[in-house]
Symmetry: C2
Subunit: 427 residues, 2 copies
Amino acid sequence: MSILIKDSLIVTQDDKRRIIRGDVYIEDDRLIEIGKINVEAEFVLKRRIVLPGLINMHTHLPMTLLRGYGDDLPLEEWLTTRIWPIEARLKAKHIAIGTKLAFMEMVATGTTCCNDMYFFEDVIAEEAKKFGMRCYAGFSIIDFDTPEMKKDLLLPECEKFIRKWNKDDLVTPVVAPHATYTCSPETLEKTAELAGKYDCFIHIHCSETRHEVYDVLARYGVRPLEQIKKYGLLGRKTMLAHCGWITKEEVKEIARSGACVIHNPVSNMKLATGGFTPLPELFEANATVTLGTDGAASNNKLDMFETMKFAALIHKHHRWDASVVKAQEAMDMATVNAAEFLGLNAGRIEEGKKADIVCIDAKQPNLLPLHNVVSHLVYAASALNVSDVIINGKMIYHERKFLNIDEEKVYDEVEKAAEELVNLREQ
Amino acid sequence: MSILIKDSLIVTQDDKRRIIRGDVYIEDDRLIEIGKINVEAEFVLKRRIVLPGLINMHTHLPMTLLRGYGDDLPLEEWLTTRIWPIEARLKAKHIAIGTKLAFMEMVATGTTCCNDMYFFEDVIAEEAKKFGMRCYAGFSIIDFDTPEMKKDLLLPECEKFIRKWNKDDLVTPVVAPHATYTCSPETLEKTAELAGKYDCFIHIHCSETRHEVYDVLARYGVRPLEQIKKYGLLGRKTMLAHCGWITKEEVKEIARSGACVIHNPVSNMKLATGGFTPLPELFEANATVTLGTDGAASNNKLDMFETMKFAALIHKHHRWDASVVKAQEAMDMATVNAAEFLGLNAGRIEEGKKADIVCIDAKQPNLLPLHNVVSHLVYAASALNVSDVIINGKMIYHERKFLNIDEEKVYDEVEKAAEELVNLREQ
């Protein structure tokens, strides 16, 4: 496939964070050229804002099926009366449907790559492949039987999963021990061994709630981050979701380790987890910070534009300082920081990069006048402005229509699946 | 004009907050019938979510021209180096252009009524009339010369403005003393007299920042709300923007007075004003609470869907309690609370109401499955979902296109105006 984007404003996210005017030419999976270009192409777009596709670093894709099914409830009640009873009934077919819906929502809101963690991860990986989504697929390890299998099967099945996907172009297998309060020291240790054996990324919840921190401290005598470190899970391939209740010492520990922090401001606020990822201190320590939406059940969207805005605003508010977490920093967390951490040859608009690209139609009332394009992308843009999305060089979403999927069919499947799940629950 | 909306889910916002399935028929400026309806109509829509148009209770419309022109700066620096130098150069033509752009953005994001406060308010009122926007137009009173006129002319010109618009169907004149730190006691007193003479609404900034509160306390020995009361401005027609730094005693005082509070969560967070409108206490005291975006320069959108979500989430976060500010409460603040306070026969989908109505296309990835429609409108919806907007019975925005204005022409005007303003500033 070949795509030419003419007369556009290019948010390169290069080392100098340059904004340049010009054309972009894409062929196969690559961004071939930036400049003044006159070639034939299958798709020709004009006058767009071109930016690297956003990277959603923490989500639970199939939870789109639980969107809005239980809100405004205390966390414990939400989990025990709403989320867990439904999750227990999930089958592979529901996972596939919820995942497709999640991909559609993410693409329509400018996301080209996601880092998932759930059950039935092989089903999710297959859906990513079919849809054309770039997906880091986290196979959950936990000390309970899952809706998919008995707990004793999790580690061996995870190993098969890694072997199956290890060389794939779009899907990267990730080992995802759920958290230190749901995985025993033995499980953590074995998980670390498995991840080490294949040099896999590790994705784990860390210090999301105050309760979690004190629970782990009471049980094991150390806080979650120390527990993660103690059992060999902390390193340059570790992705720590939340870190809402970490200490200044832990900030330094994370920076030293090379692990990355995934900040999920919308979910943390909605679930009222209280503590908050200390972005200014993490930036100061040169830790890698990225952004995620968390699952649709606690957000209730998968919209990274919204997440960038929440991330920038909540920290200004906390610190009584409008200069904290600037627009450019929010943009970096959602693009280049994540790509660099993942070793993904994307996250920037540069020649030779993989073409994971979002195009914005800037002729819209909320994006004018265009005093500052990065400010607009973080503070003013919305899903309404996303016109085209390219993943791995393929045009997936064009002029606000999906080219890769029958939308109406998915919507019908979603409605049926949701009905089925809720009815099962209520029987 | 006649409009029929078939087979839809109607978020009535009636006393029982019922959600009903059915059809809605609109003729002239009224909602004529709800039920199973078969009539001919000029416009026939199908399978929508129908809700009352959102009401943006605090904004400065022409500031769309300054969107993104200075972000991430401390408040003082932002005002003195960015906003005020540009504002000083505003002419009537810029006001008209910025206002049109604001109306377009608001309508595209589901707002049908706004409460403005700015200079050149007659120009704004004329634009509202031309566009077909329902607008409470606040004529600013302040102790400085404005870009429009000398300060001594403000009160007499405001009186002319009131007389001109007092009987209008779409535009309602409002008296808008800027704040207690920018209006002397004498000005406040004369403004109260003028508002009283015509039984006008009063719109004033109150306790937005800590600095403001201590400044007024130092100068006058009382806090802003007491100053407002002392000079006769506090009553059942008073709209208090922000109230971020009010005491528990002031919460009770506001509730007793019948005044309404306008909460602007996005602007407060972006400008890092620190204090925060105490919604749970205001609800407890049965005060009227509504929502606003503030101007586009400090938000940087005029999107009430986003504002509802911020309003619900920030208070959950503050109180470490996910049950604080529920979706229904956010929805109420943006619709029925505001309409009731204004005495506006809208804000609900009921027979006989003025037809200020928003239609949502629910067949979109972020709104499925539809477990809970109010939750979706507050936590999951975005501008992308707004398909049609009806104001005073007129179809203004249909299938995401404006019927009342030449979009491209406005965009060109906006770009020229912004360039002119910034260049003037830089000379």
